[in-house]
């Protein structure tokens, strides 16, 4: 309190109000003390006390809570979606590997189908024979060189080499005597086929692949892919 009245504090005791000399406030706004003069009847000055406005915390708290819950929710959503994504990723990876496998099987089948042995055996099956003689046509001179003759049915090709049966299972080798490893009537002794050499049947196209979506006897529907 004394700091308020740096000059005349000694005269003021307790809460007794005394005549105050009107003073002009100094530049800092505090009334400067005036010398204790005779004008003691002066009125106690009143001043307007400005109340400090009380802050309203409610919206802030609500905001913070909202933000916090929103953040939590966001984290939760992110976490859930990440996990979800992981599950989806696993599913997609499975689907991918399944597709790769079936693609691989199809490509293998294609390679086996376009192996020369398979082509030859299918051509033979269609009744095609190799050309007995060949000739060349010179387009510029329009001349035919060589000695081309029409092929005849009895034209014999070279001995055929058995096709590889790449889809044969190990334990099935003995169980499926209908394996297409065919040998022509020339009776090649080419090795590498575990099928019994007794069959002299005409050449059959290679490898009946069980991938065809048949119903396996009408009981089991054959799904194309493993369910992902």
């Amino acid at each position: 309190m004394s700091s308020f009245f740096p000059g005349g504090a000694q005269d003021i005791v307790g809460n007794t109000a005394r005549k105050l000399v009107p003073v002009a406030p100094d530049k800092s706004g505090n009334p400067t003390s005036a010398p204790d003069s005779a004008d003691s009847k002066a009125r106690t000055p009143l001043s307007l006390v400005v109340t400090v406005p009380r802050r309203n915390w409610k919206p802030l708290i609500v905001l913070v809570l909202l933000l916090a819950s929103a953040a939590l929710a966001a984290v939760l959503v992110m976490s859930v979606s990440l996990s979800q994504g992981q599950y989806k990723l696993v599913d997609l990876k499975t689907a991918q590997s399944n597709l790769e496998k079936s693609n691989q099987a199809l490509e293998l089948d294609l390679s086996a189908q376009r192996a020369p042995q398979s082509l030859v055996s299918r051509a033979t099956g269609m009744g095609m024979v190799p050309a007995a003689s060949t000739g060349q046509i010179d387009v510029r001179s329009q001349k035919v060189s060589g000695n081309p003759l029409p092929a005849t049915l009895d034209t014999k090709g070279l001995v055929s080499i058995p096709a590889a049966d790449v889809n044969k299972s190990k334990d099935q080798a003995g169980a499926s005597p209908l394996s297409p490893a065919a040998k022509d009537s020339g009776g090649t002794t080419a090795p590498g086929q575990s099928t019994p050499g007794k069959e002299m049947a005409p050449i059959v196209p290679a490898a009946p692949e069980p991938a065809a979506p048949d119903l396996n006897g009408g009981t089991i529907p054959a799904p194309a892919q493993k369910g992902s």
């Binding site: 996990s83 992981q86 599950y87 990723l89 696993v90 399944n98 496998k101 079936s102 691989q104 099987a105 490509e107 293998l108 390679s111 376009r114 192996a115 020369p116 042995q117 030859v120 060949t134 000739g135 060349q136 010179d138 060189s145 060589g146 090709g157 070279l158 001995v159 080499i161 058995p162 096709a163 590889a164 049966d165 790449v166 044969k168 299972s169 190990k170 334990d171 099935q172 169980a175 499926s176 020339g186 090649t188 002794t189 080419a190 090795p191 590498g192 086929q193 575990s194 692949e209 069980p210 991938a211 396996n216 009981t219 089991i220 529907p221 054959a222 799904p223 892919q225 493993k226 369910g227």
Partner: protein, 602 residues
């Protein structure tokens, strides 16, 4: 304080109660503090100091290291047709114990969504139907006390997914990597096969095992109990690097045709074996290396051990008259003769106490060198070749690659046998001139003719065209610089003489319509396998076309044909194979007339 007023007594009680209360609070506080300290201490121990490596143990438990296997590279032919590749196949397995646990089971149909109940018998029946096996066999495999047994091994992924869709309890599948060879025995001895450990045991699979094998990768991740990756945990992936694919120079169609022809010849003459080599003369690239009885790499165990490997590179034979090409070239290159040099050839030739005769009876003839070669006269060849010193003869054979490995990237190559000239005996020094007393692989002999076809430059046989790394980068195999054996003029003269063999022979067998061809027959006695004397013959024909600019060389070797050797000819087979080669590679027909060097002089 003398008087205890009620006020003061009350105060004391309160103070006491206060004291007790405070004491209790203190005790409680202390207890809590101790408790907290213990917890905090434990926390610091576990989290901060990690006594007992709990964190590590937990991480180890969560961490899964997955091997990412590298896929072995493919082997493809010059047109990209697959000769060898690795695929996924499945073993269908059973836990007999688990199978017995479910005499009845429910299965939800994936399409209709109905849940149906089946007995174990029904399940196994369906399995047998899908697998195409007898039900009894499947049931026998699935019944017993074993925790693991095979139902069937090596089925396709398509079949495996059908099996999985059945949902039969106790039936499982295991993926396996399998090496398959879609062409089977076509090119089998070149491609080779793998052992059970996945390493190449023969052919290209063996020689380029390093390149074909990739580097396995790994993936380290943390997974929950359900095996799903914990998304926020770190994942470390070391990608696998697949093996490089090897592109061969082999042409699948030519290989097939040559192999057919070899098999045909073998059967026709009941020969021991037949080898046919097709090569591109200007590059040394092999278009086909065909052996009779080529094994099927899908099942190498089914073939005889002697048929494993390529005879073209590993078997040595006495080449016989085809080596007269070396002698004639040498004589011309040394400036000792020209194709029209004159030799008075007696019916039998005696030189240094050694007597040589020919396959046909003749009187004393006035032959040109071309005439000697065209009728494959031993007498005349010795007469001409004896102008060379034995050392020169050796050097020329050496220059043509006899007695050295060609360096082809196939296992088991034989260098052949060319004894140093100092060790030649009185007869051998002359017999080498017509290809006896010297042993070559069919491949070496083919490259003697490649040298002549390629203007005298001998190249290394090339069987690998390029490597394609997993990232798609292609590494072409560079052909090494050839060895200059003959000058252009000598090579041209030699080619004219080889054409003369075809055009001037009395019995014209070799004929590829539309093309000028040249070549040389060879017949030699085959040394017996026990090393004593000879048994049987080696019959061969090596030719090239088109003669104005030879592009391809086809070499046929037939070992020990049965029956009269005079009835054996490789001419027709050569015509077929060479015709096929020229047509396949679109070689334009010859437009220039054939060279016909006179066989006799006046």
């Amino acid at each position: 304080m003398a008087h205890n007023s009620p006020h003061t007594a009350q105060g004391a009680a309160a103070r006491l109660a206060d004291k007790i209360g405070r004491g209790r609070m203190r005790i409680g506080f202390t207890l809590m503090l101790v408790f907290l300290l213990v917890i905090a201490g434990k926390l610091v121990m576990i989290q901060g100091l990690d006594v007992g490596n709990m964190a590590e143990a937990a991480e180890t438990q969560r961490t899964v290291v997955q091997k990412l296997p590298a896929v072995r590279g493919k082997i493809v032919d010059s047109n990209g047709h697959v000769l060898a590749e690795s695929i996924i196949r499945y073993d269908i397995t059973v836990s007999q114990i688990n199978s017995a646990l479910y005499p009845q089971y429910k299965h939800r149909d994936a399409i209709s969504g109905d849940v149906e109940s089946f007995t174990r018998e029904q399940g196994l029946m369906k399995l047998a139907t899908v697998l195409g096996l007898p039900f009894e066999q499947v049931k026998a495999n699935a019944t017993g006390e074993k925790a693991f047994n095979y139902i069937v091994r090596d089925v396709s992924p398509a079949m495996e997914s059908q099996v999985a869709a059945l949902g039969v309890p106790g039936i499982y599948s295991e993926p396996q990597t399998k090496r398959v060879y879609p062409m089977g025995s076509v090119g089998g001895p070149i491609v080779g096969f793998l052992g059970s450990d996945g390493k190449g045991l023969a052919g290209i699979e063996q020689t380029f095992n390093e390149k074909l094998t990739g580097t396995d990768g790994s993936r380290t991740y943390q997974a929950g109990k359900n095996g799903i990756i914990i998304p926020t945990a770190p994942v470390k992936t070391v990608p696998s690097v697949d093996g490089a694919s090897v592109t061969l120079t082999i042409n699948q169609d030519i290989q097939y045709y040559a192999q057919q022809a070899a098999q045909q010849q073998k059967e026709q003459y009941s020969a021991q074996w037949v080898s046919i080599t097709v090569l591109e003369s200007k590059t040394g690239k092999l278009a086909a290396v065909a052996d009779s009885d080529s094994y099927n790499p899908n099942d190498p165990g089914a073939s005889a051990t002697k048929d494993i490997g390529s005879r073209t590179v590993s078997s040595i034979v006495e080449p016989g008259s085809t080596d007269k090409t070396i002698t004639a070239s040498a004589v011309m290159a040394e400036g000792l003769a020209t194709p029209l040099s004159q030799f008075l050839v007696p019916p039998t030739l005696s030189i240094d106490g050694q007597t040589f005769s020919d396959a046909f009876v003749h009187g004393t003839e006035k032959r040109t060198l071309a005439g000697i070669i065209s009728d494959s006269m031993n007498t005349g060849t010795v007469l001409a070749g004896s102008k060379l010193t034995p050392e020169q003869r050796y050097n020329w054979f050496h220059k043509f690659g006899v007695g050295q490995k060609t360096g082809i990237e196939l296992p088991g190559e034989s260098p052949g046998i060319l004894a140093p000239w100092q060790k030649w005996d009185g007869r051998q020094q002359y017999t080498v001139l017509f290809g006896q007393g010297v042993a070559q692989t069919p491949l070496q002999t083919a490259f003697v003719f490649q040298t002549v076809a390629n203007n005298g430059t001998r190249l290394k046989p090339q069987i690998v065209d390029s490597f394609t790394a997993a990232d798609g980068s292609v590494e072409k195999v560079q052909q090494a610089a050839g060895i200059e054996v003959l000058d252009n003029k000598t090579a041209q003269d030699m080619r004219d003489m080889l054409e003369g063999v075809v055009t001037m022979a009395d019995y014209k067998v070799v004929n590829v319509p539309g093309y000028r061809v040249g070549g040389k027959t060879g017949t030699a006695e085959a040394p017996a396998d026990n090393g004593v004397g000879f048994d049987g013959y080696t019959s061969s024909f090596i030719g090239m076309a088109p003669m104005e600019d030879p592009q391809y060389v086809v070499a046929i070797t037939v070992q020990r044909p049965q029956g009269s050797i005079y009835g054996v000819t490789q001419g027709y087979t050569f015509n077929q194979v060479m015709g096929q080669v020229l047509r396949t590679f679109d070689v334009p027909p010859s437009t220039t007339p054939s060279v016909m060097l006179p066989k006799f002089y006046e």
